[in-house]
Chain length 471, copies 2
């Protein structure tokens, strides 16, 4: 693609990157110029604007187009679109681009990519599209991609790239470098940081970092400089576990092996960055009661994705109301109770959410694996709940006393606060741990349970104590 | 350290890593053996158990010790403890280890580490300890560390390592490799994936990936194979921005430059994994109202870290109660209102939290930078709020009708639900965006505002409409 950039004065590549805005290729100026060139049907200008951009910036640009613009864009860009761009697109936009692009063209472009990137694109598409694209792929590529897609989603087999550099352990540094030099660019992975040392049965013996390889003398044997630390993982391992392993040991590259312990691929740290980001984001969204945070989702999709959570919440709110309903006669006689009761429930709900958040995060980081640690955590939370319960019993009691000038109301408030804060702590710590033992994602389900518990206990203790002692 | 591992049969390094448990060096068996050897004062056995472990596992083991065990452990391990272990310890434990270890010994150990690791340890310590350690460091090392600590926290200068491999662009591949081979191990960074190409004024021209270097022929010039994409960042750039840049462009290594655009260090992707994890975790915890999720924090620290949030929440709960108080006469006449009113507030609170979660995540990912995107987001959320408001107005109205057999109550419930869901959507989308414009962390402050809004609007519309039309 011999294309000259049209925006030398706005592109980061041509001036020092000391301004934050210069680090990103897609400036408002470029965006405006791209949209103008689409409107003007100026194909040459569009290509000269898009091609010099980093694929991530090209993807960002595509995301900003409306569907009419996108249609024209794909028509005008056609053969000049780098297939790598597709790997940076969110699912919803990818679907649109692929349907504009056409199955055959995509099948031609896919073999240019590393196998992990090709799989990354295909797994986001509909089944019938995938079947069409697979049918149009060259046989060799098709087999590789089909094999990758045969692994369950969210496992190492989907994440890994099949392109690896392997050497036997008896080779010298010189031999290995000569071997690498003899390979064409297509034969080498786009990204690799290690060469993997295997035995004749393709079992992994260790790996040599490129930094070590390139700074060692030619006669040195690979066996002398290879590392044998935990650098191989099973192909069925969960993505999240792979991410945690990379984090814990600060890994750069791991070998992926099949059930016979033969090398089938490798995963590098740059693939893991996305996994970690996604996993952390998923927990955050699950705790907030949203399953899809994409800003591009349609109104219908968004309403659907929030509906279930709100419906469950309505059910728990009705349960809480039923509890209040038991005491309607009490409230009728002393309306101050209706005024104060949300305070008890709300404080319990917030204290419970705090504990749930800590528990969910600790579970995600695998810090609650040990029975001893779990016990210590529950005990500490119970103590925190008790101490905060006592403090806020005093404060809320005082507020009630000043407000309604009745010591009895203040005492009921204080007792209910202690009970609810303690219940919040125990259920906030216990529920996520129990859910995770039952293999239910604690980030998704904990909040519902915890607010139900704190609402019910809050209203029950406050109104119950009031009905016994006040009216 | 010529020490033979004592646990050949339980260490991952000696058998294939196909079981998940084998991927982690610290098995329950090892933990038990370590604790036993501490109890028995068996120094040799302790060393033979600990030294073969990965530093991350050694740190995990240290975290599991109580303070008496830790005291003995540091006494018994002394010179055999790899200083890298310290970089894996959480702040609270690091403090304990350092006070047991002693300032002088630490000062002796620090120069063994890459500069980013040394800084990582020192920035977690108290000021007086840092001063003592700095005073005990050799002059050369002290200057480097002092300079690093002079950069503001959370900036690239703290994250980077000063050890880099640089070459001029006119060098050939052969010359560069010979240069690398001539360096002693101490002179090379522990981890590097690129060589940085500089001009005589130490300005960055580009970088060459090691994979490219090692697969190119010796006579090829570096200028022919170097990349010039956005690989340099200012030393003052915020860590979070650095992380986002790595993610967006799938970077492996960036050069860090000072205000004069001279190379001062580099940041590699393995350092970024921790940054991304921390940032994502911070948002999750902030939304949950906790500032410190460490499982090891003491009771006092934990109570303190949760107290402020609960106090703020008490204030907002009291505000909501004040609103209810306005309508106490209405409630006295129709107690069903007290039973139903938490439903409106709770549904608003949950819908608002959903929107806040999406907004906070999008802000963290820098997806809400563009005014057009912000407008589209607010509009979509308002529509979602309206649609969900209509749906739940119907459902909650129906529940009220069945429960209290009064069409008026059902109508008031329905109207209040629509109003509150719409208010939840608008404030849930607007508040985080406004806070972030005001440079206040939206993850920390949004929840308070949103629940206040939805409680007040919920009670106000429901009880207000009831007082107008029902009683």
């Amino acid at each position: 693609m011999a294309v000259k950039p049209d925006h030398e004065n706005i592109n980061f590549q041509t001036k020092p990157a000391l301004e934050l805005s210069n680090l990103y290729g897609l400036t408002p100026k470029v965006v405006a110029a791209v949209i103008a060139s689409i409107a003007e049907h100026n194909k040459e200008r569009l290509i000269s604007l898009i091609v010099p951009l980093h694929p991530a910036d090209q993807a960002d640009m595509i995301e900003r187009l409306n569907s009419a613009q996108l249609k024209r864009f794909t028509l005008m860009m056609r053969d000049n679109l780098d297939p790598t761009v597709l790997t940076y697109l969110p699912d919803s936009v990818l679907e649109d681009v692929v349907s504009n692009y056409g199955v055959n063209e995509l099948a031609q472009a896919l073999p240019e990519l590393d196998s992990d990137d090709a799989v990354d694109i295909l797994e986001d598409l509909e089944d019938d599209e995938v079947a069409d694209i697979l049918a149009a792929l060259p046989v060799g590529e098709r087999l590789i991609v089909e094999e990758a897609l045969s692994y369950p989603e969210h496992c190492a087999g989907r994440l890994m790239q099949r392109e690896v550099v392997v050497c036997p352990s008896h080779w010298t540094v010189g031999q290995s470098i000569d071997h690498l030099r003899s390979q064409s660019e297509d034969q080498l992975p786009d990204e690799f940081y290690v060469i993997i040392i295997i035995d004749p049965a393709r079992r992994v013996l260790g790996q040599v970092r490129l930094g070590k390889l390139v700074s060692s003398n030619r006669p040195v044997r690979l066996s002398e400089i290879m590392e044998t630390a935990p650098h191989q993982i099973p192909v069925t391992m969960d993505k999240e576990e792979v991410g945690l392993l990379f984090q814990r040991y600060g890994l750069v590259s791991v070998s992926v092996v099949d059930a016979q312990e033969k090398l089938v691929g490798m995963i590098t740290v740059d693939d893991i960055v996305d996994v970690i980001q996604e996993e952390a984001g998923e927990d955050l969204m699950a705790l907030g009661g949203v399953s899809d945070s994409s800003l591009r989702s349609s109104l219908v999709t968004t309403v659907q994705s929030r509906f279930l959570w709100l419906l469950v919440n309505l059910a728990t709110a009705v349960i809480a109301s039923l509890v209040i309903g038991i005491f309607d006669a009490t409230i009728e006689r002393l309306v101050a109770l209706a005024v104060l009761m949300p305070i008890v429930a709300s404080m319990g709900g917030n204290a419970g959410t705090q504990t749930v958040t800590v528990a969910v995060r600790a579970l995600a980081m695998r810090q609650l694996a040990d029975a001893q640690v779990v016990n210590r955590f529950i005990l500490r939370e119970a103590m925190v709940g008790l101490v905060n319960g006592l403090i806020f019993a005093f404060v809320a009691g005082l507020v009630s006393l000043i407000w309604f000038q009745k010591i009895d109301i203040a005492l009921v408030m204080a007792l209910a606060m202690i009970a609810n804060m303690l219940a919040a702590a125990l259920s906030g710590a216990g529920i996520p741990i129990i859910l995770s033992k039952l293999k239910i994602d604690p980030a998704v389900a904990s909040s519902v349970f915890i607010t139900t518990v704190t609402d019910v206990i809050g209203f029950l203790t406050f109104l119950g104590l009031a009905s016994l002692y006040l009216v």
